[in-house]
């Protein structure tokens, strides 16, 4: 069984600095990490490898600058078999549609597969749209918010999905796409053997030419949405700001505020 796991390199979110003149992120100053929620996607693929009776090959796929190789190496150190990086200046600035399109083009060129697995969303863009958009573009079935894999074989998977109302048990014919939540289980740590393997594995790079697409189809040019402006929110209420001398004083203000609104 072939499994493709999509992973993304993201800035460590708490430390992002913005260039206020251009409204863009100062990427060079920010530490880049694997999207924490993608670790659960990798974990899911490794659980399936353990459950499935035949041979399983797991390929981690990412799109980003050459440096994003690091996250594929990390995926291999956890137990993935192979890493492919979509990397070309022309891919830059892609929105979720163009990102899904580019990944879709790659997947169509690779061997047939049973499952594509994504995390719930990336912690930088926070959209969670690439998995479902890719499924839509490739006309594959999708199960989002997957919390458990109950059974998987060559023709179908039985999965649990968490919604606002409860837990659905779904049977999905393969090939298909799933996005997984943290409920899938704690991601395992890289092993020493895995780290050695990661060091010795060459990450395959697909650029514009190797992917066989044109400039206009991908990146900013292939995107349907455009960022018009980026700004710090200027939200302010005409509130009072009080520096209190002791907690008692603070509490009296809070209680008065709650009483005025009929809470207490």
């Amino acid at each position: 069984m072939n499994i493709y796991v999509l992973v993304k390199q993201v800035p460590a979110t708490d430390k992002v600095k913005i260039d206020e003149s251009t409204g863009t992120m100062k990427r060079e100053e920010v530490e880049a990490v694997i999207n924490p929620l993608d670790l659960y996607a990798i974990e899911t693929s490794l659980q399936i490898k353990e459950m499935y009776e035949g041979k399983t090959s797991i390929t981690a796929i990412s799109m980003g600058p050459p440096k994003a190789e690091e996250v594929l190496k990390e995926a291999i150190s956890m137990g993935c078999d192979r890493g492919i990086l979509l990397s070309d200046r022309a891919f830059a600035g892609a929105d979720t549609w163009a990102t899904s399109y580019t990944i879709g083009k790659l997947i169509k060129r690779l061997e047939p597969f049973s499952l594509i697995i994504t995390g719930e969303r990336a912690t930088d863009g926070e959209t969670g749209q690439v998995g479902p958009s890719l499924a839509g573009q490739l006309d594959l079935p999708i199960v989002t918010y997957t919390s458990r894999i109950l059974e998987i074989n060559d023709s179908y998977a039985i999965l649990e999905r968490e919604t606002e109302e409860g837990t659905e048990t779904l049977k999905m014919k393969l090939p298909g796409v799933i996005s997984v939540t943290k409920a899938i289980g704690e991601p395992r740590l890289p092993t020493l053997k895995g780290k050695i393997k990661a060091r010795n594995t060459k990450i395959e790079i697909f650029d514009l030419e190797k992917l066989g697409v044109t400039n206009e189809e991908v990146g900013l040019l292939g995107s349907l949405t455009r960022v018009v402006k980026v700004f710090y929110p200027k939200i302010s209420r005409t509130g009072r700001r009080i520096k209190v001398k002791d907690p008692e004083e603070a509490v009296s203000y809070i209680i008065e505020f709650l009483q005025e609104r009929g809470i207490l």
């Binding site: 800035p11 979110t13 708490d14 992002v16 913005i18 929105d95 979720t96 549609w97 899904s100 930088d124 863009g125 926070e126 959209t127 969670g128 749209q129 479902p132 958009s133 499924a135 839509g136 573009q137 006309d139 079935p141 999708i142 989002t144 039985i158 919604t163 109302e165 409860g166 837990t167 659905e168 048990t169 779904l170 049977k171 999905m172 014919k173 298909g176 943290k182 995107s223 349907l224 455009r226 960022v227 018009v228 980026v230 710090y232 929110p233 939200i235 302010s236 209420r237 509130g239 009072r240 700001r241 520096k243 209190v244 907690p247 603070a250 203000y253 809070i254 709650l258 609104r261 809470i263």
Partner: protein, 330 residues
């Protein structure tokens, strides 16, 4: 050309869900500015309360009815919606950023080759062009970005549940309800074989008062104080910043913010939360806000009606004691 604004309603447990009415309030702002019709798309089976959708602001309801639309299945939904959307060719489609909306919207956008913006916190119309301006937190919630879809239609967006109050229910409002019974021949590759409903563990989104904590509470052991106070205030619930959820001090269902829940209670009280855009996105529409933080420059103060510069932990313990005293004196 029709410049219809369409909202994709949501049905839960055989009833039209309130997020539908919130979407109508979002859509109404846009359809008024565009001087066009606001329509609601409702998928389901055996639904009764369709006129409610009119009372809450829709000019027209497209009710797509079929037994197979009783539960959400992205493939079956897309089978019906893709040709229908192509037929009515709306300008704008809005849906809730719920598990359903966040699945079907990108799935449809992928099939329709339509631009889609997730989790918007405000929507507007650009005067010169009539295009949808979609604003959402970006880059890990550190800034806001305004996004548009310049040259393709429909322009699609999801908005956070509880991000806006429904319009006043008006039974004098009139509109057209169009019932459509599509034939569905699709042999779906997804089949629902069981469903286990869940008890709502935290009614955070419905609480009148939200008592939230952040890193200013210093130690995971102090989180219990939030719950103690919540027990002393009627109709209240406990919220949290992403920071303390990530550190494992409190469970994820309590998280308020872009990657958690959006709330708009009567009073939101933030103890020791600095107020990253990520967090503000989930609570800044509260009716009133109290913020307690020792840093007078903390961004949370920009949204507060009452800002107290002081030690959040000390104030929290004192508040608990005072509320207990009040309770005992009654």
């Amino acid at each position: 050309m029709s410049r219809e604004v369409v909202i994709l309603g949501e049905v839960r447990k055989g009833k039209i869900h309130s997020v539908t009415y919130e979407l109508l309030a979002w859509g109404k702002d846009l359809s008024d500015k565009l001087k066009t019709r606001l329509s609601a798309l409702i998928l389901g089976y055996n639904l009764g309360d369709l006129e409610e959708v009119i009372y809450y602001g829709a000019d027209k309801v497209y009710y797509l009815e079929h037994p197979r639309l009783d539960n959400f299945n992205p493939e079956v939904y897309a089978e019906v919606l893709v040709p229908f959307i192509k037929e009515i060719a709306p300008d704008i489609i809005l849906a809730g950023a719920t598990t359903t909306g966040r699945t079907i919207m990108p799935y449809l956008a992928g099939k329709l080759k339509a631009g889609l913006t997730a989790d918007c916190t405000s929507l507007d119309i650009e005067e010169e062009t009539g295009l949808l301006l979609q604003t959402r937190p970006a880059i890990g919630g550190n800034v806001l970005a305004t996004i548009k879809t310049p040259s393709s239609k429909p322009q699609m967006a999801t908005v956070r549940p509880k991000g806006k109050k429904p319009l006043e229910r008006d039974t004098n409002r009139t509109g057209e309800i169009k019932i459509i019974k599509p034939s569905i021949d699709l042999n779906s590759r997804i089949e629902r074989i069981n469903f286990k409903p869940r008890e709502e563990e935290v009614s955070l989104v419905d609480a009148e008062v939200v008592i939230s904590g952040g890193k200013g509470l210093k130690d995971p052991r102090n989180i219990s104080l939030l719950f103690d106070i919540s027990k002393l205030i009627d109709s209240s619930a406990v919220g949290a910043s992403r920071a303390i959820v990530d550190m494992g001090w409190i469970e994820y269902p309590h998280q308020v913010g872009l990657s958690g829940k959006t709330v708009n209670p009567k009073v939101y009280i933030a103890f020791g939360i600095s107020g990253a855009v990520q967090h503000l996105a989930g609570m800044m529409n509260s009716e009133s806000i109290i913020a307690i933080n020792k840093d007078p420059e903390a961004p949370i103060f920009q949204v507060a009606d009452l800002g107290i510069v002081g030690d959040a932990l000390e104030i929290l313990s004192t508040l608990k004691r005072k509320l207990e005293e009040r309770k005992n004196n009654v």
